[in-house]
């Protein structure tokens, strides 16, 4: 019983790491641009599809595929930013969001046109079997996922707290109007933040499909949903909250799936989110944050 509990916790933390990365990217866009990007997951999916295409055509190696995923996702992200978010900067959030939904449809159709099947094999991160230590098993790609997430978080932290760009980003998150008044070039910050968010998302997507060894068009909506859920659980617009939310979501899912099955797993996550929003809209992590 205890063994199962700890095993589920390990599994939960593993998928939670992926969720944390997804949430980080999503939160960057939300915290800085104050917008929900419904094309976030689809851009990642397109990146993974581009890599899959290269794999199918040229049998490209893992590292090359990672680079392709990154490049394609950032490119797709830039397209989304220019078309859906830049024009609506000072205007309505709804229009930006619906535009991002429209581009979500576009990206999904584009992906299925290039690769029409519902399932494609993706090379595995690690060919060997799961590693065991004691009564627990941990897959090697899970370790890679956790390691990459940890490194990414540390790198992001250094970027945000030790660079001018990071200073500008934090300023825009806290006080967008004041940031503009002191001369920070907001549009340029937005562009770079978008690229950063896409890159982080690409990392998450690549790790997820390489661990699952398959890629489907469902990855698009799934990634957006998980990123959004994790961000909301941890506290809208808070980057440490995104990490907490992602890990928490992973843990909640792993444990509820074990006891009650996949439907209750999803039900629990959504119920918790609804409850949190109804009672404490600022999320698990943040203490007080202005809701605007």
């Amino acid at each position: 019983m205890l063994v199962d509990l700890i095993q589920n916790t390990l599994d939960g933390l593993t998928i939670g790491a992926a969720y944390a990365l997804l949430a980080l990217g999503f939160t960057l866009i939300f915290g800085v641009l104050r917008r929900i990007n419904l094309s976030y997951g689809p851009a990642i999916m397109l990146g993974c599809y581009a890599a899959t295409w290269f794999h199918v055509q040229f049998q490209a190696g893992l590292l090359a595929l990672a680079a392709i995923t990154l490049a394609a996702t950032v490119l797709a992200g830039a397209y989304v930013e220019r078309l859906c978010f830049a024009p609506h900067r000072d205007r309505s959030a709804i229009a930006a969001m619906v535009a991002s939904f429209a581009i979500w449809m576009q990206l999904e159709e584009l992906a299925t046109l290039v690769l029409p099947n519902h399932l494609y094999a993706f090379p595995a991160l690690y060919e060997g079997g799961p590693l065991g230590f004691g009564p627990f098993t941990l897959r090697a790609d899970a370790l890679v996922m956790l390691a990459v997430t940890a490194v990414a978080c540390i790198a992001l932290q250094r970027l945000l707290y030790r660079s001018r760009f990071g200073l500008a980003v934090r300023a825009v998150i806290d006080q967008p109007v004041a940031a503009r008044l002191v001369g920070i070039n907001l549009p340029w910050v937005f562009v770079r933040v978008f690229a950063l968010a896409s890159a982080i998302g690409a990392m998450a997507g690549y790790l997820i499909v390489a661990s699952a060894e398959q890629v489907t068009p469902m990855l698009g909506m799934w990634s957006t949903l998980k990123g959004m859920l994790a961000m909301m659980l941890g506290g809208l617009g808070s980057l440490p909250g995104a990490i907490v939310g992602g890990l928490a979501l992973g843990l909640i899912e792993a444990h509820s799936q074990w006891f009650f099955g996949p439907q209750v797993r999803d039900l629990t996550a959504y119920f918790l989110l609804f409850l949190l929003l109804a009672l404490r809209p600022s999320g698990l992590w943040t203490t007080t944050r202005s809701v605007s």
Binding site: L38, C84, I94, V98, A99, A102, Q106, E108, M221, L277
Partner: protein, 295 residues
């Protein structure tokens, strides 16, 4: 009229109920990702009432609308103080919960030697009330559009009345509305319930048109689509959401030019359109201009 045209027009009509439901909430200032849940509530309850309990469709539709309103009220009450993206997230969570509950819902009875009723992820077959009475597709099309037109008349009447002005005031600036003595919370709940009932009506009609529904019908895609149609068509008039539905399902789907590229075309069109008209084609300004021109 050939089968194809009837099919397309019926689908446009059915989707319009959903789009109008999202529109109603939008003009009251709230963005809902969850209207598809009430569409599903209407579909399942209407289907169960006619297929298992043999209730006539009009009665089942009324009951379904009441259930839809109730469900919307249950979602609206805890989320009353939420605004903007928080409210949107909450409706998304609620709608997904509803969809999962549909997946877990099993209720079958043996009727005439056959098991009839919702069977979780296997779906709900045998909603044949319309079919069994020999109502032809043309007749059903007339029914759907007849009800839709009644709904539209309702909307137009409300728009011209004090109620309509109140709702738009709440949508534009709730603080100002509150300072004028308007009970924003009460109106929002009322709007939520009305929108839920409207979506549920669409759901009953959808279920009986298809004779087969499953939980997957009522996922986020449906909800976001309805929101998009409402916004693209325009928030200035109730005809706006219909325009949005017609543009996608009617024009783009109907034309063979975009075979296989419909989403790419529609998606691009929507994104570009919103740059120039962020409140849709028939936005408030356009409607005022039209009214001034033709009165």
């Amino acid at each position: 009229m050939d089968d194809y045209a009837i099919g397309v027009l019926t689908n446009i009509g059915l989707f319009s109920f959903l789009a109008l439901s999202a529109y109603l909430l939008l003009i009251a200032g709230e963005m809902s990702f969850g209207q598809q849940a009430f569409f599903g509530v209407g579909a399942y309850s209407g289907g169960v009432l006619t297929a298992i309990y043999g209730l006539p469709l009009p009665l089942a539709a009324l009951a379904a609308m009441l259930l839809g309103a109730l469900a919307a009220f249950l979602v609206g009450l805890p989320t009353l103080r939420l605004r903007g993206l928080y409210f949107a997230m909450a409706t998304l969570a609620a709608a997904e919960m509803a969809r999962i509950l549909f997946e877990l819902y099993r209720f079958q009875r043996e009727i005439d030697g056959e098991l009839v009723g919702p069977d979780g992820t296997q779906g709900f077959r045998g909603i044949r009330w319309i079919f069994e009475r020999g109502i032809e597709p043309e007749g059903y099309l007339a029914l759907v559009w007849g009800l839709l037109l009644i709904a539209l008349v309702f909307f137009v009447l409300v728009e011209r009345s004090r109620l309509g002005a109140t709702l738009r005031a709440i949508g534009q600036d709730p603080e100002l509305a509150r300072s004028c003595g308007i009970s924003v919370e009460r109106f929002k709940l009322g709007v939520a319930a009305a929108a839920g009932a409207l979506a549920a009506l669409g759901g009953v009609l959808f279920a009986h048109h298809n004779t087969y529904i499953e939980p997957r019908n009522f996922d986020i895609m449906l909800g976001v689509h309805s929101l998009a149609y409402a916004l693209i068509g325009g928030l200035g008039t109730a005809v706006g959401p219909l325009l949005g539905v017609v543009l996608d399902i009617g024009a783009l789907e109907g034309s063979r030019v975009f075979q296989g590229y419909r989403m790419i075309a529609f998606g691009g069109l929507v994104a570009v359109l919103l740059i120039f008209r962020p409140r849709g084609i028939l936005d408030e300004k356009a409607v005022h201009w039209l009214k001034a021109r033709f009165s």
